[in-house]
């Protein structure tokens, strides 16, 4: 397997009164797509911002290490980190409609990125901007380069955002729910584009999403997060065929079935009762209040991650007995 590009060890992010991400560890290998899945409030986006060292003012990394390319990002000063951002690590955001500067043409915005990290003349920057627009498959790039963001559709804007992010050939691209604001067909194109670029530019992608369909098609490995903790890590095939953690099972049974002849009338979509808010202030397993298999011992301590195979981790000690429950059969996809 290829070398480790990013290694996050025991990352804990704290606000003054809460710790939305606790003891999170994962690693990203060069050139792979790692998907981080979880519902709203599970700490996915905060993790992404922590990787970029762009946490909101009130939040701070309390403990842990983020090792990127043999350097601990938490030890870098603001200046070194700024040189790293956009050049080695880039990020694309959820909202393409508001993530572009409305008063600058897209060509100049892409040029700005290039000028910030490389010495380039205005003309060279413009030519590179056109190349990048072509790279992200924007038709008639020579004409489009002088357009303003309001003249573009959401999908086009997200393409421009991607062009800006990959302008300096980063080694790691963090995509924070890149397709949530787009409709489903555009979603597929944007993700296809990201996947193509990942291979063309040999970069690793951290894909943050709450959409299991996205995970199934584009991820090499999956980390499932719940209430700021990693509850399961698996290859997508394993995860969909044999989910171990009760939360993952719940997520899968709450999404439409895979079989193409499935109709929603044939069976209900089960929900996970309760909400993630109920995890706050819990002593034991954060999922205990919503878990249908919860036992008394779940309330004593946070269940540690158990490695089933090197790539398969699960934070629930009762997975083997869960499998015996006959009711769980319909959950596996």
């Amino acid at each position: 397997m290829t070398s480790l590009l990013l290694q996050v060890e025991n990352l804990t992010i704290g606000f003054p009164r809460a710790e939305p991400v606790r003891n999170l560890s994962f690693e990203v290998r060069a050139g792979e797509t790692l998907a981080i899945v979880g519902e709203s409030g599970s700490g996915k986006s905060l993790t992404a911002l922590a990787l970029m060292q762009l946490l909101p003012r009130a939040a701070a990394v309390i403990s842990g290490r983020i090792i990127f390319d043999d350097r601990d990002l938490l030890g870098l000063d603001a200046r070194e980190m700024r040189h790293l951002r956009g050049r080695d690590i880039a990020m694309i955001f959820q909202e393409p409609m508001t993530s572009l500067n409305p008063v600058m043409s897209i060509g100049r915005q892409i040029g700005e990125v290039l000028k910030a990290h490389e010495k380039l003349s205005g003309r060279a920057a413009r030519e590179r901007a056109i190349e990048l627009l072509k790279l992200v498959r924007i038709p008639a790039a020579e004409k489009r380069v002088d357009d303003y963001p309001h003249q573009l559709s959401g999908g086009m804007r997200q393409r421009v955002m991607i062009a800006m992010a990959v302008a300096c050939r980063p080694k790691l691209l963090i995509a924070d729910e890149p397709t949530t604001a787009l409709d489903v067909t555009i979603q597929a194109q944007v993700l296809d584009l990201l996947d193509t670029l990942r291979r063309e530019l040999q970069m690793a992608v951290v894909l943050i999403t709450h959409d299991l369909g996205v995970v199934a098609q584009w991820a090499d490995r999956v980390v499932v997060m719940y209430a700021g903790r990693k509850v399961e890590q698996a290859l997508p095939g394993e995860l969909f065929n044999d989910p171990l953690h009760p939360y993952t099972r719940g997520l899968l049974s709450a999404s439409p079935r895979l079989k193409h002849d499935f109709h929603y009338l044939e069976g209900p979509l089960t929900e996970i009762s309760g909400s993630i808010v109920s995890a706050a202030g819990e002593v034991g397993c954060p999922f205990r209040p919503r878990c249908c298999q919860a036992r008394a011992s779940c309330g004593h301590q946070v269940p540690p991650l158990i490695a089933q195979t090197p790539d398969r981790l699960v934070a629930c000690p009762f997975t083997s007995s869960l499998k015996a429950v006959p009711d769980a059969a319909h959950l596996s996809l």
């Binding site: 970029m52 762009l54 700024r82 040189h83 790293l84 951002r85 956009g86 050049r87 880039a90 990020m91 955001f93 909202e95 508001t98 993530s99 572009l100 500067n101 409305p102 008063v103 600058m104 700005e112 990125v113 910030a116 990290h117 498959r137 924007i138 038709p139 008639a140 004409k143 489009r144 357009d147 303003y148 309001h150 573009l152 559709s153 959401g154 999908g155 086009m156 955002m161 800006m164 992010a165 489903v184 067909t185 555009i186 979603q187 597929a188 194109q189 296809d192 709450h210 959409d211 299991l212 369909g213 996205v214 199934a216 098609q217 969909f240 709450a254 999404s255 439409p256 895979l258 193409h260």
Partner: protein, 332 residues
Amino acid sequence: MSTTDFGAFPAVTGGAYAAPATSEQATAPERPAWSNVKAPDARSQPTAAVAFTNGRRALKVFLANPNALFGTAFLALVIAVALLAPVLYPDDPLSMVGKPFLWPGQDPTFPLGTDSLGRDVLAGILHGSRISLFVGLMATALSLTFGVFVGAIAGYFAGWVDDLLVRLIEIFQTLPSFVLLVVLVAIVQPSATTVTLAIAVISWPTVARLTRAEFRTIREKDFVMAARSLGFGHGRIIFREILPNALPPIIVTSSVMVATAILMESALSFMGLGDPNVVSWGSMIGTGRELVRTAWYLTALPGLAIVFTVLALNLIGDGLNDALNPRFTQDR
């Protein structure tokens, strides 16, 4: 959660969306036939239809506003007069050239009459426009530069920098501005330059507060976050990303600030605190004040000049506000 079908995207994009695309191309054959599979959303936005940029749209709105046009025309007239004054009346407007107290129209040599010392009123008004415009524009430029700088730093960095700068702004705001102006001019020798500087000193806090408020809002926008994630430095974010977005209200305010500066200069001259060696509209009113019952035209004529110039600037400010405010333009 969206209702995506696991692994079924190629079928969707290739199959279901191919049919409507071809039928639409049949109706509109002039559209470029690029690959819809790669970017069908691009097809709905033909390049020819998006002709207007932000600036051109704003200009169109501005030019469609008769008040703003009147303001612009009148201001252009005042500027032309100010530029032509030394050509039309090469002599010193403070020199005595005729009989005193000639009423407007009484003597064709002095179309607007003469004052108590026999000075030509028209020459005074024309030359006065030079000083009014100089003071108005320069004071605004200075206070804009300083105010935008302070406001941008305070609004962008927040924290203790913001606290410190806001205290500084508040010190200036708690002092009655005109009294401060009078004191400043009284301390230094009054001249066009010192009056300009003094007006700039008292008017920058307004700009600073406005800029700070704009920066505080825009700082939280997604595109600023995106800029930070691309490794842009603070200077680049402040001047290239945020400032252009903060400009519309600042531009609108600055047109009104020019008007206020002209009024302040006039008020200073009226009180005898202006530059004694140059004629200005305010000083003309000041000297005509004692004769307002017998020769009211001496105060009324330069007064009208002030009124119309300030009105023109305010109308321009209004027009710019309508043109540059995105809440109004988006619906047009």
